[in-house]
């Protein structure tokens, strides 16, 4: 219960600060003048996150599965380190590099967001699959499961809470990183935020920042609900204290 309480308190405090800023910057009316842009750019923002996050989930989970197979286990550690180093490159730099290859527009932004989301997903998939009790895996083999049956019937369902945690962290962080897409003409709520900063228009900046924060919170809530639905009650941890990234 306490972990959830802490999380909601932090979210509440952050929204409180934003609201206070909104009032100081001229109130709701000043922000709501950007209503049509907010709607339009929020949609772009969500699509940026989904189009980068979707492939990141598919690639990340598959990569995590591959790295924990017997034949690839030896290169698992080096591969994870390589991925960590890649992730240590600032997203801004990745966007710039991607822009040189792909030009301006959505493509470089999607590539950067994709790479950014990849590490938490791969890492949690690997960790989730590594932590399975050896006795269960021995039983699975001993009773005559094929490797793919072991993966589908035992390994993935049991690792699901940790994998889902990685996906949630990756996507929620991406909502906050996606405003950088503005810098290469990728669209999204970054348009309002960066323009607001450049033009000394706090209301415009907040018209981008508040929906971004709200999207992150909403996505987090949605994904945690979805995880609860999918994870078996036999391994559900109601006070999740899985290592945060």
């Amino acid at each position: 219960m306490s972990a959830r309480f802490v999380r909601y308190s932090i979210v509440g405090a952050a929204l409180g600060i934003l609201c206070a800023a909104a009032i100081l910057s001229g109130g709701a009316a000043a922000i709501l003048q950007y209503k049509s842009e907010i709607v339009h750019l929020s949609r772009q923002h969500v699509l940026l996150v989904l189009y980068s996050g979707g492939p990141a989930i598919v690639v990340g989970v598959l990569l995590g599965i591959a790295l924990t197979r017997r034949s690839l286990r030896r290169i698992c550690e080096p591969a994870m380190q390589l991925l960590s180093i890649l992730t240590a490159i600032p997203t801004l730099a990745i966007i710039a590099i991607a822009m040189m290859a792909l030009g301006v527009g959505k493509a470089p932004a999607l590539v950067a967001l994709f790479l950014h989301a990849l590490l938490p997903i791969v890492r949690n998939t690997v960790e989730g699959l590594r932590q399975l009790p050896p006795a269960e895996l021995e039983c699975a083999r001993g009773m005559g499961m094929t490797p793919s049956q072991t993966l589908l019937l035992v390994e993935l369902p049991e690792a699901l809470p940790i994998i889902a945690q990685g996906i949630r962290v990756a996507l929620v962080i991406n909502v906050g990183v996606a405003p950088l897409a503005f810098l290469v003409g990728g669209g999204g709520l970054g348009d309002l935020i960066f323009s607001g900063i450049d033009l000394f228009q706090p209301a415009m900046m907040l018209a981008g920042a508040i929906p971004t924060a709200a999207l992150a919170v909403a996505l987090d809530f949605l994904l945690s609900r979805l995880t609860r639905l999918l994870v078996s009650p036999g391994i559900r941890n109601d006070d999740a204290t899985v290592a945060q990234l």
Binding site: E136, E138, M143, G144, M145, Q149, S232, G234, I235
Partner: protein, 325 residues
Amino acid sequence: MIQIEKLSKEFVQDGRHMVALDGIDLEVPHGEVCVLLGPSGCGKTTTLKIINRLVTPSGGRVLVDGQDASTFDAIELRRKIGYVIQQVGLFAHMTVEENIGIVPRLLGWPVERRRQRALELLAMVGLDPGHYAGRYPRELSGGQAQRIGVARALAADPPILLMDEPFGALDPISREALQDEFLAMQLRLKKTIIFVSHDIDEALKMADRIAIFKLGRIVRHGTPDALLADASDPFIESFIGRDRALKRLRRRRCAEVLEPCSRSFPRSAPRLTPHDDLRTALSIMVEGNFDALPCCNADGSPVGMVRLAEIRNLLGGSPPLEAVS
């Protein structure tokens, strides 16, 4: 029927050549419980895992019903062999019912039949099906979990059961209870069972025959009584303990040494029943300084006498022992 012929297993660990199994031979007839007994690291578990092909032997072979196990498809073979391990290994995300039904599911049984089978097995291992079917493993005690482990291994009615110290992690009371229930179940099911244990009392209780392992070899092989009668090897002696006479008597019933006698006895005298074991009889005799005790049915009708001299005779005449060089 399982025949093991000249089975050996060697491997390299940290650059050193290790011998886990050094050419063992063993035969387990259909419907018998064979206990592999020995200290840890002597090759018992390796033998078990070679039978269901979790481990590949370096030499020798295993015959299952006369056919070389290595000619079977490993997956098919394992589905015909129940497997129970000490850590139980129930799947945490599945309910008890799903856990029991997993091998039938792999074999493609319809859902309803799997369900029926799971409920039937729950009742057989002494757990209320209505109460436990929908539970998850984390809600179970150690003893309950291992009952489910046994039920899961029996689900597809395999003719062979491999059990690796299945009751080793349980407290003494649950262990006794599970052993007793398991023996009662085996009387009806007549599975061919290979049972790994390091506990001599468990082995004497469960086994039709015992194979004693030492450093990758079987040093003695025979019925529990034969082993107890002849502990000539110091290693076996140390394993069985110096109270082997008492251990033998524990396995024998008063009914086996009864001397006919129809006179009635005073109500106050200590009396035995034909089902009492001879260790109990001896204990009462030693305690009360008796040379003989009356043996009566539950209704009090006398059936005979148990004499100390007869018990001595029984211990004196040793049955033949199959020595393994």
